[in-house]
Symmetry: C2
Subunit: 138 residues, 2 copies
Amino acid sequence: MTARPPAGAHRATRQGRAIVAALRASPSFRSAQEIHAELCAGGQKTGLTTVYRHLQRLADDGAVDVLRQPEGDVMYRYCASDEHHHHIVCRECGRSAETDCPELSDWADRVAHSLGYSDVSHAVEVFGVCADCRAARR
Amino acid sequence: MTARPPAGAHRATRQGRAIVAALRASPSFRSAQEIHAELCAGGQKTGLTTVYRHLQRLADDGAVDVLRQPEGDVMYRYCASDEHHHHIVCRECGRSAETDCPELSDWADRVAHSLGYSDVSHAVEVFGVCADCRAARR
DNA sequence: GTCTAACTGAAAACGGTTATCATTTCGAAA
DNA sequence: TTTCGAAATGATAACCGTTTTCAGTTAGAC
């Protein structure tokens, strides 16, 4: 009877490191497919399945933010903050900024309770055009 | 050279009426597939393609609200209000209520502008548990 | 070095949505 | 009422992102 490594621990793999590095290197939301293409292009051969698996686990662990685009694609971004927060995403280049939302939580709670709802959560995404893209337009 | 009916006009069809009726009859968000199944079950034979086409056009016309669930399914609901508004959706039964959002718009604009973003739009969904479902729990 | 659970990835399955295209239907004009 | 073309329909296939499968590989504890 030999001792076992603690079940549930994650192992350090080349692919896992590459995926986290790719996420950290980007200030904007990226799709699994984009990250996969980027890794392959950079010589980091990695299966698409593996990319999906790591992103999913990172999201479960709360290490990345998940955003669903209006078109339905799921995007991932490395989390700067542990706190509950929201994003302002540039419609053109995808760059995003984080913001906290105390007023927003208050608003959601107040409105929900006044309508008889409890256990309130909210999903908010703000879209706009960032300063650089606006400048590039003209 | 014969005169033509105005291009772009919509024609009144049995299927179109059935789809609108199904939407009007429900207080909660429904998926295209659900509506299709409901029509078929009710003897209103209608193609799935046609359901998608009508829902899409209604959404384009602003006649229905569109909501993307966290799981990715697109849901549709008849619009009570023409104004910009948001929904509070019951996590358990899907029932939804509408609410306006002047503070929310202000918040989104203010935060976005302070970060250099313009042409701001926002997507907000609030989820909770409605009074009936809460009562049914215990 | 040994061993095994964790990880990998090619290929297939999945599921919702959209495109294709031959057929049907609405409705304006004659 | 009949005609006729644009619009609508719907069965089928294509699409596309994501998940599952499963045989093979690898990290890392001992």
